[in-house]
Amino acid sequence: MSTPPDLLYSEPEDDLRAAVRALLADRADLPAALARAESGDPYDPALWTSLTAGIGAAGLLVPESLGGQGASHREAAVVLEELGRAVTAAPYLTSSVLATSALLACDTDDPDVAGLLTALAQGRGVAVLAVPFGTAPDAPLPVGAATVRGVADAVRADVLLVPRQDGLYAVETASPAVTVEPLTPLDLTRPLAAVTVDPGAGLRIAAAPEAERAVRAGLLAGAGLLASEQLGIAEWCLEESVRHTKERYQFNRPVGSFQALKHRMAQLWLEVVSARAAARAAADALATGDPGAPLAVALAQAYCGPVAVHAAEECVQLHAGIGMTWEHPAHLALKRAKSAATALGSTGRHQEALAALVDLPAPG
């Protein structure tokens, strides 16, 4: 048996969490965030600057020699827990994890790759993979498609990483060869777009076989760390539900004193505790380059996606009428959770990946 993963948080990880949480608490102005979300531009540029240039969160996965922090997926996972808790609109998962991991799997001695990584690590640029946000790590890639629909954070990106038959290309979104057409997303805090890129535009940064490996490495890291974002969403939903049901009086008592409600919140707590173990296992496996990482990621995705959805659905129900309003932020968590459960491969898709890895074959 291999050594068990380190499932705890280190002291530097706790410090990082405190810094990100303090930043988000300062900046999280929910009415403003809601108004921005509706406008189709939910991002807060000052927040992104603080997160990247201030805290250095965008460069956690990037080695110091390339201008990053030389940390690991464990630290990036902590950042994502906090971004999930606050349902923050920021291209962190898409650029600082997915695109960055893909680039790190290319030849980092190539000056174009290295330059791009440095820019991303220091928050001077945002890059996203030009694949639908629902793409699982083992799913077919949209090579050769003229238009790719459902690219997350493309409206915020400076560079698109475009997988083609003959390799991976970096294309600047400012180029006339690129059209980014915003779509109306279920999750207003993570904009989606249809992206059209002229064939042949851009700079080739990886040849064909290496390109596919790089894109899949990005998708695997993204799926694994999305579990930490889902953990953060679930944790926030539980805390808000507990807070509300302690304060809300009906029948001359706090509604949180009714067993019918408190058992549901205790059940959510169990799920959050379990999701934390699954998400930490995935982050640790990615950080250590464990060959078991695909299993840990599929497990975390198969578990944490439904937990976040369950927590968000319970959050709405336990807030009852208030939870149904536009004004209360529960719907932001619900929309994020439901979208995230489909993002980077659905729960069922991850279960199938896991079944193949642990030899639980289908009938027939």
């Binding site: 048996m1 993963p5 499932l7 302690k246 707590w269 934390r276 642990v358 289908a362 009938p363 027939g364």
Partner: protein, 395 residues
């Protein structure tokens, strides 16, 4: 502070003075206790060295490697897991010195006389009476206890009984150490739905307990019992296992070896349960890492809840997966097993025995209340039984 190196030196010294190959088993265990290597976190003189609990594994590993006998902890689990920590915390010097050594060595087996037919989840409502005899100062105990594992093997019992019915229920209880050889103790097997009898009913008729065997103050038994119960929940569901180490391993093996049994609907359930079982295993692993790092959290109190539900669903799935074989049962013969392995025997037994997992050691409903109130801080249900004399409660 005792560190690992010092402990290993002490283990080597013990092995040199009492070579396991030429020392009688009980003599070795007594020597180990006296060397402070029984439970290293206990105080010196009581089997320990006031060392960090996490270092016990260092001692156990070295002794196992040397082929030393152990005290068969599964046979004496109630003594080790529940009686001992309570005696350590509340016992007098005489009680600690009298009871802990034979308990740990396994010379004296312990059982727990807590639950009653009328006091299950509401344990504090218990009705077994202990009355002080003026002339001798002894306590005379009458009542009935139930769900007592190992009562027929036990030399001693931890017992809670009502000493003042006029007080509210939590305040009129006293904790005793009861001699199971007293002629007033009658043990009858309690056959359960699996066909066997792991547990007993214990009838107490005029049982005499000297006041020196009272643990803690008169009327303080509930507080003392909470120490016992907290240790009970820690010891259930806290094991760290390899992947597929629990019940899911059995059903996964059947799935792999018997393709003719597979259906799509069963597979969907299997995959969902496999994910949940593996995550529960990682959660237990994380709780273990927290304890080892000296950062205990509330997470451990959820493990029993998760494992109870998973054991039930997984064993239920296995019975269905086995189809015609699932219709059979190994053996309905009434037996009194000395050890219980809930993953052992056949799928039907596992399915039936797992029903107890959400009842024993606190029902899942009560545990959910505890998580909600103590961990999440949700307000309690309004209660009307806390300030009423026990004798005036409905029963």
């Amino acid at each position: 502070m005792t560190d690992a190196t010092e402990l290993r030196t002490r283990v080597a010294g013990l092995l040199a003075a009492h070579p396991p190959s030429s020392t009688a088993e009980e003599d070795f265990l007594r020597a180990r206790f006296d060397a402070g290597l029984a439970w290293v976190h206990y105080p010196p003189g009581l089997g320990g060295l006031d060392a960090p609990r996490a270092l016990q594994s260092v001692v156990d590993a070295d002794l196992a490697a040397a082929g030393a006998p152990d005290n068969d902890p599964r046979r004496i689990g109630i003594g080790l897991g529940m009686a001992a920590p309570t005696i350590l915390r509340y016992g007098t010097r005489e009680q600690r010195e009298r009871f802990l050594r034979p308990l740990w060595v396994g010379e004296e087996v312990w059982c727990q006389l807590f639950s009653e037919p009328g006091a299950g989840s509401d344990l504090a409502a218990l009705a077994t009476r202990a009355v002080r005899e003026e002339s001798s100062g002894d306590w005379i105990v009458d009542g009935q206890k139930v769900w007592t594992s190992g009562a027929h093997l036990a030399r001693w019992a931890i017992l809670i009984a009502r000493t003042d019915p006029a007080l509210p229920k939590h305040r009129g209880i006293t904790y005793f150490l009861c001699d199971m050889t007293d002629p007033g103790v009658e043990v009858r097997p309690l056959r359960q739905l699996t066909g066997e009898a792991e547990f007993n009913e214990v009838f107490l008729t005029g049982v005499r307990i000297p006041d020196a065997h009272r643990l803690g103050g008169v009327g303080e038994g509930w507080q003392v019992a909470r120490t016992t119960l907290m240790n009970e929940r820690v010891s259930i569901g806290g094991a760290r296992l390899p992947r597929e180490g629990g019940m899911i391993g059995a059903v996964a093996r059947v799935w792999r070896e018997r393709p003719e049994l597979r259906t799509h609907a069963l597979r969907q359930r299997l995959l969902t349960l496999w994910v949940e079982a593996e995550v529960a295993r990682l959660t237990a692993e994380r709780v273990g890492q927290q304890l080892a790092a000296g950062q205990p959290g509330p997470e451990g109190s959820g493990l029993k809840l998760s494992f109870a539900r998973l054991n039930q669903e997984i064993s239920g799935l296995e019975v269905e997966l086995l189809a015609d074989e699932g219709l059979l049962y190994s053996d309905w013969t009434m037996r009194r097993p000395e050890r219980v392995d809930i993953t052992g025997r056949d799928a039907g037994y596992r399915y039936l025995r797992a029903k107890g997992n959400s009842i024993e050691g606190g029902t899942s409903e009560v545990l959910l209340n505890i998580v909600a109130e103590r961990v999440l801080g949700l307000p309690p249900e309004p209660r009307d039984d806390k300030d009423v004399a026990w004798k005036d409660l409905a029963r």
